[in-house]
Symmetry: C2
Subunit: 79 residues, 2 copies
């Protein structure tokens, strides 16, 4: 079973990486970009075959390791 | 208009960051994780209001800046 975790900085947390991308896009001539946020995506291959159990397990991974829940929010999709 | 770009290393390209995550998950007791790939997600706010034109523009951004197409593949979603 596959799972995809998307981790983004929470709204209001400064995202210098996203700002750098926005600036670089402007320099390259892409003028219509008003905001950029950059996050990470983690694709997991799981031995677990039950979707509900897999989701619970992946959420535990997010809380313990994959996301810093003080400043980041995460979304889990089971594929 | 919003767009989401997901950039992942191509299959076969070594992903040390993903490997490190897999190892760390194992150390934390998550034994059922057989593979991890880590990529990045970029959320863009665009002034463009036409979906087809926005997709063309974002694909050009990917080719020029957001993805290294030698080793990375990208996916564009218009939200």
């Amino acid at each position: 079973m596959k799972a995809r975790v998307t981790v983004m900085l929470k709204t209001g947390v400064l995202d210098p990486q996203g700002e750098a991308v926005r600036h670089a896009l402007g320099t390259l001539g892409f003028a219509g970009v008003t905001g950029v946020r950059q996050g990470k995506v983690i694709e997991l291959d799981l031995a677990q075959t039950d979707a509900a159990a897999a989701e619970t397990e992946v959420k535990a991974m997010c809380e313990k390791l994959l996301a810093n829940t003080v400043i980041e929010s995460y979304r889990v999709e089971i594929l």
